[in-house]
């Protein structure tokens, strides 16, 4: 059993299970799946200043912070008891050779640890990926009023036009980052 679960899960197992979160949240307490609101909550709890956007009752969304605590714990379970026997993720040959050409050599684990690591922060690509990337994830998600969970999953599954626009934006930005910014940064760094 554990042996089977330890293998990487195919998309047709992982996808539907993620989709089930939406009805389960609705049935538990009429809650809408969306994780980037947690950024607003944490800012509101720690550094609201005089900013109107952060002066609201963030504690009403405590369920979301509980969900996130669970995500961190569950991920730890996935990475230890259910760790895959092969540390290298089976990405396609084409991606592999593109990333080698970009300058990545270590394909073990979830992230390229030459760059996404504490020592990697001192490299230009690592800094741009973690710090600049992180900043835009937070800024963009709040500006767009949702991220992958709120717009792509919750929003699209309830056929919201605004979510479709947001998701098209996600892809436009991701394509620019992948095909223009990353090659530039790797060449410079």
């Amino acid at each position: 059993m554990i042996e089977t679960l330890s293998q990487p899960w195919p998309w047709w197992v992982a996808g539907p299970l993620i989709g089930l979160i939406v009805p389960v949240l609705l049935l538990i307490g009429s809650k809408q799946f969306g994780l980037s609101t947690s950024f607003r909550q944490i800012c509101a709890a720690t550094a609201p200043g005089q900013i109107e956007y952060f002066r609201y009752d963030w504690k009403r969304g405590m369920w979301r912070l509980a969900l996130i605590l669970g995500i961190i714990g569950g991920a730890a379970i996935g990475a230890t008891w259910l760790a895959s026997p092969d540390p290298v993720i089976g990405i396609s040959e084409a991606t592999n050779s593109d990333l080698v050409a970009l300058g990545i050599t270590d394909f073990r684990g979830m992230v390229p640890s030459e760059f996404i690591s504490w020592s990697g922060l001192l490299t230009l690509p690592g800094f741009v990926m973690v710090v600049v990337g992180g900043f835009f994830v937070g800024f963009g998600a709040r500006y767009a009023d949702g991220c992958t969970s709120g717009h792509a999953i919750s929003g699209l599954s309830t056929f919201q036009f605004s979510s479709l626009i947001a998701v098209l934006g996600f892809f436009a930005g991701g394509l620019v980052a992948t095909h223009l910014l990353l090659p530039l940064v790797f060449r410079a760094g």
Binding site: W12, L27, S30, W63, G74, A144
Partner: protein, 144 residues
């Protein structure tokens, strides 16, 4: 305010999600690169099937006017279905830039921390700084 006891189901649900994120490799920077290079069906399959299951289940909930376990009415409307509002396409594109660089959206940032990739605390802090900057500049940004 929800009592502490009422939060346990969410912790359990989150743990389930954290396991699926990890085992489904949704949190892999490599998988996100593969997606933005259109070189595998994996991420499209995950997002597509998640949306399909969520849509079907939400339809059943609406169709049968199901209530929550506590007997409340269920509200499924998420965002106002307005037109081509600036906030969705500009904000969305900026989010996408970050997603492409970092290779992780908000849920996976937390899940990567759970995976022991502690540098993701820096990414989380940067994301919080980004959210804070949004809050600060929000009155001057185009939204509609």
């Amino acid at each position: 305010m929800i009592e502490k006891k009422g939060l346990l189901p969410y912790v359990i649900l989150g743990a389930f999600l954290g396991i699926v994120f990890t085992k489904g490799e949704v949190i892999s920077w490599f998988r996100i690169q593969e997606m933005f290079r259109f070189q595998s069906f994996h991420m499209y399959g995950i997002i597509g099937s998640a949306v399909a299951v969520a849509a079907l289940a939400t339809w059943v909930i609406k169709r049968h006017e199901l209530r929550t376990l506590g007997g409340e009415e269920i509200e499924t409307k998420v965002k106002p279905s307005a037109g081509l509002n600036y906030r969705y396409w500009i904000g969305g594109s900026l989010f996408g830039l970050g997603w492409g660089l970092l290779g992780a959206c908000p849920g996976p940032i937390y899940a990567l921390i759970g995976n022991g990739i502690t540098v993701m605390f820096v990414a989380l802090f940067a994301a919080l700084a980004g959210a804070w900057a949004y809050g600060y500049f929000a009155p001057r940004l185009p939204h509609h």
